[in-house]
Symmetry: C2
Subunit: 322 residues, 2 copies
């Protein structure tokens, strides 16, 4: 696959949806030109191990080791350790695979030795042969807290243990005021020729990145086109609870709330053809809109969607220049 020189591309990313888009972007953009800023507000500690689900999904996908069907973990991984933990009465609702455990063991040990998450992530990318610049959003600690009728839940408790069933009353990013963007994050936004917002959950994946001090302002100031891919298709996400969260928070799931959540910084939005009835409303909000099949079941579809995003960014740039 020919990788054109499209300039520097920076992608704001959550987990699975982002990984699927990135699979396509990486096929079109040289790794040295591509930076991914990954949500870490879903990070959690299981059995004493620091787990960064979105970082891992991105690294595993870009290295070709991910389990594409399941959307998390490594292809062909086994679950002997986590099953054996059950003997001791330990919680094991968060399914850590055996090979996957190596990632968390290494990360936890390095963090405990005082190395920042960004340095550990860079070492892991090297270990997995990933040449794309993958940055955790922060070396500080930010945690998404879901306020529900069952009380405060960490995001993984809400999503994995409770299967996203509780009503979401509100979402908070604990630590967001004191955490700083990781080294390179603001520069990657400021120096980008294109900024992409991946089809990730706007509340719990993209929201924390935008909430970090200076990130939203840098995106507003950016002269580069900022283009998002809507994570919803016909009002439903491919994966995850974005639609339930929207409903819980009094929004009708569609590309419109997505556009509204990003309205101060967004130039263009790629939506699924199933949502083409929203094109006019989105254009009225001042956005350039492209429609395509955004379900990225195959690498070829990932590349097609990535191409659509690059093309929309071009048309935004052309319009700004004219």
């Amino acid at each position: 696959m020919k990788r054109a020189r499209v300039g520097k591309v920076t992608v704001l990313a959550g987990g699975v949806g982002a990984a699927r888009l990135l699979r396509g972007v990486a096929a079109l953009v040289r790794p040295s030109d591509l930076t991914v800023i990954v949500n870490t507000a879903d990070d959690d500690v299981f059995h004493g191990l620091h787990v960064s689900p979105d970082v891992d999904t991105i690294l595993y996908t870009l290295s070709g080791l991910a389990d594409p069907g399941r959307g998390w973990g490594l292809l062909g991984d086994t679950f002997h350790a986590i099953d054996a933990l059950g003997r001791y009465g330990g919680d094991n609702w968060f399914r850590l695979g055996d090979r996957d455990l190596a990632t968390h063991l290494f990360r936890t040990e390095e963090l405990r030795a005082g190395r920042p998450l960004s340095a550990v992530t860079a070492a892991q990318a090297r270990g997995l042969g990933v040449k794309v610049n993958v940055l955790p959003m922060s070396d500080g600690r930010v945690r998404t807290i879901i306020d529900s009728p069952q009380g405060r839940l960490s995001f993984q408790e809400y999503l994995v243990r409770e299967r996203a069933r509780p009503t979401v009353r509100s979402i908070r990013y604990e630590g967001i005021r004191t955490a700083k963007p990781a080294p390179g994050v603001l520069a990657a936004v400021e120096q980008a020729d294109i900024v992409m917002i991946a089809p990730s959950n706007p509340f719990v994946s993209i929201g924390p990145i935008l909430g970090l001090s200076g990130v939203r302002a840098a995106l507003r100031r950016a002269t580069a086109p900022v283009v998002a891919v809507s994570p919803l298709i016909g009002g439903r996400p491919v994966k995850g609870p974005a639609d339930r969260m929207m409903r819980s928070l009094g929004m009708k799931p569609s590309p419109l709330p997505v556009a509204d959540l990003y309205k101060d910084l967004l130039d263009g939005l790629v939506i699924d053809t199933a949502d083409r009835s929203f094109v006019r409303a989105l254009e009225k909000r001042g956005l350039r809109v492209a429609t395509t099949n955004t379900l990225m079941k195959t690498p070829a579809r990932s590349t097609a969607v990535a191409r659509e995003v690059l093309s929309l960014a071009d048309s935004v740039r052309a319009a700004l220049a004219s």
Copy 2:
């Protein structure tokens, strides 16, 4: 198998050799009458996890989950996590199995939460269905340090990484003066009707237990017979570096140095028939001696050796009473 009421039995134990004897003792003695005091001076931290090799070998053996051929770890375990760690450049010479990892993850998390090793070990015994009272020798930190021409080595570095090749100049138990015997250890020695010293390495397995404040004195004071099984057969251990250590330290490997190391507390010694030429010299040291095939390749041989130890203890008791 009929389990006779032989009174309370307390066994001082290292890893594999001890586990093989205990397999037999557990077949003859009721679990509520059997206490094992296990060496923890070999404990080490790998990838941030607290590993207690001797405790694990004992627990895995008594639960029937051990790999009897290998002498460590769980039967049928896989090594996906430790192999995957190699990708990140982590040391992986200490082979932790995937199911085995669960033990270390649980232990590490519990220790970090402030629970003492003895409580964690009791919880693990319950989880594995082990009814024998398994006590780590101490809740404090004692570490065997091997001084060699390559410098100071932890015991696992010496044994596993360096394959016991370096010359042993001296052996130290770091922390032995401040560590206290775990709750129940001194009582188990004082209240025992029989004390057994397992066929474990006298320097690095039994030595640290005896080095703990009060243990050696309690054994000297004990009215119960104290009977050991020599870990050497024809001058060679079944497993481990006891013979090399003896030679390094200027001793000729045989039951004699074993008897000398325990001379202030020992009443009887079971030796292999291959070593019967040492019977007279041992008896001259005031010991009662029994000879048998001490290689415990099968559960039946373990039971036979355990029976020999119980019988020797009986004859010591009879002699003391007369």
